[in-house]
């Protein structure tokens, strides 16, 4: 999909333009959901379950209602419509329905004059529980049949075997997205029994559907608005405060605001599925993969959320960007009383990449082969069938090119700076120089683009030419990644003018843009803006019989024949499109089918310094070569690569929600460590441009790739430094010290 004429325009594609929301953000003037207020506004608060599983014996809201300044105290009995919500399967009660199924499950909500009163009132509610035995062991859950989905993938001949066999068992912990902005929302009732909602989200239309159902309102009575978001990474794909603020606003007739504090945020959104994976890789003597056998268990926790789709990704990405003709994969995602899991950057492909890349290293060692050579030999390329689904790879997939480009990046010097701060342990100053061992490791990762398995994946955009400039209307959510700039750049390039503004429309003004997830918005909303802009350009040129559109109007043979004012003489001119990617299919009973819309590949190399005696690690450098299709905004790409690597670094060496018998024991930034500036590795990036078969100008989404293979690259480097067989992430000091 390419534009026929690509006029030269400032701020078009391929340039690193400044983001339009940058200036308000650096000045403190950008309005995030948690900053919003309204006249007469009340504050909401939530009472939660103190048990992972318990029967609700009695609830008495009287003491809370009696507090001065309290305007409403609501329980499940007060939900006006459908009592359950959920994105894929509606299985989660809006408020506890008689049994709490996870620690921190909302039980009752309160609206009061101020935040403090609301919190006190929530605590004043009397709740009696009968504690029940929680199901927290995913393997037990599989045995009990307590699963959201099981998948079976079979391809080729199960009976073949290879000369060289490696087996491994790998575990990944629960990672939290920990976006800096908290869950927050404001509901403002209108005069007609409806309301406007301003809530942190990644997909306002899917929120809207669930809120309308639970509130028993007509769709046009509720308008969900895009709002300033402080990062998301998957945490905002599911409902948080939405229905609660709506209920409180409807009952009190006043605006109601709710903001989670950090500890509440840790229980108030879904997390990355913890995983267990068993892999058996078989190769011939030359190192060609012959068969991969894998079993995968993801724990989905207490409610379904997006677990079914996450499992599909896990199962289909058990082999990675490699060819293999014989596949036996069994996968399950469990229903337990652990905190609910759902979307997080990488969406199922992170857990398996750790497994298959550890396996590829083991296989290289068993074959006495260079690990990158083994990967090149098996590299998946366009025209090959994907190992698991059998789908023929269309578009671009530069697996070998990313490996080559990565390898060509020079390694950092062994010992540039002897500052003790730059040793493992950092500011702890515990490591002496003589104890430091350096290691280097590699990993390559594969990810699908946009929604899969026959999901009707579309996004709408409306592009309007006015005398004052071009407006791009969309309901896509900007979470910080820079979609706003990419939309401007695409419209500028096609319409020949720098004056492009992105207008965030609410759910009543435009159709869905789909979720800001699955690395999809550059391609999907970008694709819609591309298509609408092309249609608008064609329409304007045809109307005025011109051959070129520039900032000042329509040109024919180099001469201006209609100014922008003349183009808009009868009012603004617009095109509204609904854009879809090439259709995908569901799979057959063996998991075979064209289930994915496209693929993206990346490679990472990590350099670490380790103090093996103390078990301390410093991630010195993580380099990457990334398949981008076409680079629309190089600076924004670098930002995604560096940010994604940082999140992968966190998962490799520190980030872990510790959950004991269903209870999160470290729900604070004091105890759940995220990487700081001192933990940040240096990063060198290379981008590989080979245009894809769909998407604006051949661009691919790259939001998730950097988080997928950075983690196993770092673990491989630690293994290279220590010789330890590290099979769990995060790698903690005890894993390095122990035998």
């Amino acid at each position: 999909m390419t534009s026929t004429v690509v006029p030269r325009v400032r701020g078009g594609i391929g340039t690193s333009v400044r983001r339009p929301d940058g200036e308000p953000k650096v000045s403190g003037n950008f309005a995030y959901a948690s900053d919003l207020t309204a006249p007469d506004m009340l504050w909401g608060a939530t009472r939660r379950s103190p048990y992972a599983r318990a029967r609700l014996v009695r609830i008495d809201v009287g003491p809370a209602r009696a507090i001065d300044g309290v305007h409403a105290v609501l329980t499940q009995a007060d939900v006006p419509g459908k009592p359950l919500f959920g994105q894929e399967e509606q299985d989660q009660p809006v408020l506890c329905d008689g049994e709490a199924r996870f620690w921190g499950e909302p039980v009752a909500i309160v609206a009061a004059d101020d935040e403090e009163t609301a919190r006190l009132a929530a605590e004043a509610i009397i709740v009696e529980w009968e504690e029940l035995d929680p199901l927290v062991d995913p393997e037990q859950a599989v045995a009990d049949g307590s699963v959201y989905r099981e998948m079976r993938v079979r391809r080729g001949d199960e009976s073949v075997s290879g000369n060289v066999v490696v087996e491994g068992y790998y575990e990944t912990a629960t990672q939290d997205q920990a976006p800096l902005g908290p869950e927050a929302g404001l509901a403002i009732p209108d005069d007609a029994g409806g309301m406007d909602l301003y809530v942190t989200s990644q997909w306002i239309h899917i929120d809207h559907k669930q809120i309308v159902d639970c509130m028993a309102m007509e769709p046009d009575q509720i308008r969900c608005h895009p709002v300033g978001i402080g990062g998301a990474f998957g945490a905002r794909e599911d409902i948080s405060v939405h229905i609660h603020v709506a209920m409180l606003a409807a009952v009190t007739g006043r605006p109601v605001k709710m903001v989670y504090d950090r500890s509440e945020s840790f229980v108030g959104h879904v997390k990355r599925h913890p995983s267990k994976g068993w892999y058996r890789h078989e190769a011939d003597a030359e190192g060609n993969l012959v068969k991969v056998t894998a079993r995968l268990i993801l724990d989905g926790g207490s409610y379904a959320h997006t677990s079914r789709a996450v499992l599909a990704n896990g199962a289909y990405f058990t082999v990675g960007p490699y060819r293999c003709d014989n596949i036996v994969v069994d996968a399950a995602v469990t229903r337990t009383n652990n905190p609910p899991a759902g979307a997080m950057r990488g969406f199922g492909a992170v857990q398996t990449c750790f497994g298959y890349e550890m396996q590829m290293d083991r296989l290289a060692a068993a074959l006495d082969m260079d690990p990158l050579e083994l990967r090149r030999r098996n590299a998946l390329a366009p025209g090959d069938p994907m190992a698991t689904s059998g789908q023929i790879i269309e578009g671009s997939l530069p697996t070998v090119a990313v490996i080559d480009a990565l390898e060509a990046i020079p390694l950092p010097p062994e010992d540039v700076d002897d500052d003790p701060l730059l040793r493992p342990g950092g500011t702890g100053l515990t490591t002496s120089k003589a104890d430091v061992v350096r290691g280097v490791g590699f990993a390559v990762g594969l990810k699908n683009l946009a929604f899969s398995e026959a999901f009707d994946d579309y996004t709408e955009a409306r592009v309007v030419m006015t005398s004052a400039g071009v407006e791009v209307h969309t309901a896509a959510i900007e979470v910080g990644q820079g979609l706003v700039t990419v939309c401007q750049q695409i419209a500028r390039t096609i319409l020949g003018t720098e004056r492009v503004a992105v207008i965030w429309d609410d759910t009543s003004r435009i159709g869905s843009a789909g979720s800001t997830s699955a690395s999809r918005q550059t391609q999907m909303t970008g694709g819609a803006v591309h298509a609408a802009s092309e249609a608008l350009r064609t329409k304007i040129l045809q109307t005025h019989d011109g051959d070129e559109l520039r900032a000042d109007g329509v040109y024919r043979s180099g001469g201006l024949i209609a100014t922008v004012d003349e183009i808009c003489a009868d009012g603004p001119v617009e095109e509204h499109v609904r854009f879809r990617h090439p259709p995908t299919t569901t799979a057959d009973e063996n998991g075979q089918g064209d289930v994915h819309a496209g693929f993206v590949v990346a490679a990472h190399r990590a350099v670490v310094d380790v103090d093996p005696e103390l078990g301390l690690v410093r991630v010195v450098q993580v380099d990457t070569a990334q398949d981008v299709g076409k680079a629309l905004n190089p600076q924004a790409i670098t930002g995604q690569l560096e940010g994604g690597i940082m999140m992968g670094t966190g998962f490799a060496v520190m980030e872990q929600l510790v959950i004991r018998n269903g209870v999160i024991v470290n729900p604070t930034f004091t105890d759940y460590l995220v990487p700081t500036f001192m933990d940040a590795p240096d990063v060198e990036t290379r981008i590989i441009e080979e245009g894809d078969h769909w998407g604006p100008f051949g661009a691919k989404g790259i939001g998730e790739s950097p988080t997928i293979s950075s983690t196993p690259a770092i673990v491989a480097a630690i293994r290279n430094a220590t010789g330890k067989d590290l099979t769990k992430v995060p790698v903690l000091p005890e894993h390095i010290i122990g035998d």
């Binding site: 650096v26 976006p179 990062g231 995220v674």
Partner: protein, 162 residues
């Protein structure tokens, strides 16, 4: 009690009764939501302000203890003529994604440059290690301070050396 503080050069008295933090008073009572609240535990630096010239997490300062103090928030940096150099540099290098951490980095970064106009990359890392950014991986923030740390013609230091 009535607490008298000066915020960004203006007298801003307010009435406080409970155990409110300086952060919540700034955001809720004084209409200055630029200072962000992301943990209320002194762990993330989103709420960083200058208090009588010292860098503090405003979530850890009791509002009553700020009585008689001068506070500078992100809204007080830059002037009518334009952005503060830290703000400008962060825009230039793409150091702003979601931007939730940005006010904290702007205030802490301006404070650093006041005291050390040419910080080394390691000095920048150390000085800003109390500010968490979940989006950028800190790379673009590093590059912003590299821009700022370059000696400029006319700098006192450059003059002395030449």
């Amino acid at each position: 009690m009535i607490v008298r503080i000066t915020v960004n050069g203006d007298d801003r008295p307010f009435d406080v009764s409970g155990p409110d933090s300086l952060l919540s008073v700034l955001r809720r009572d004084l209409g200055l939501p630029g200072t962000k609240d992301a943990c209320e535990q002194g762990e993330c630096g989103s709420c960083t302000v200058e208090l009588d010239g010292a860098l503090v997490c405003s979530c850890l300062v009791m509002a009553v203890d700020a009585d008689g103090c001068e506070v500078t928030t992100v809204e007080g940096l830059g002037d009518e003529d334009g952005l503060h150099p830290v703000q400008e540099a962060m825009l230039e290098t793409g150091a702003v994604q979601c931007g939730f951490c940005t006010p904290g980095f702007v205030v802490a970064g301006a404070h650093l440059l006041d005291r050390n106009p040419h910080p080394t990359p390691l000095e920048v890392k150390e000085a800003l290690a109390g500010n968490v950014c979940r989006c950028t991986g800190y790379g673009a923030i590093t590059r912003a301070f590299e821009l700022l740390a370059e000696p400029h013609p006319g700098d006192a230091q450059t003059g002395e050396e030449s």
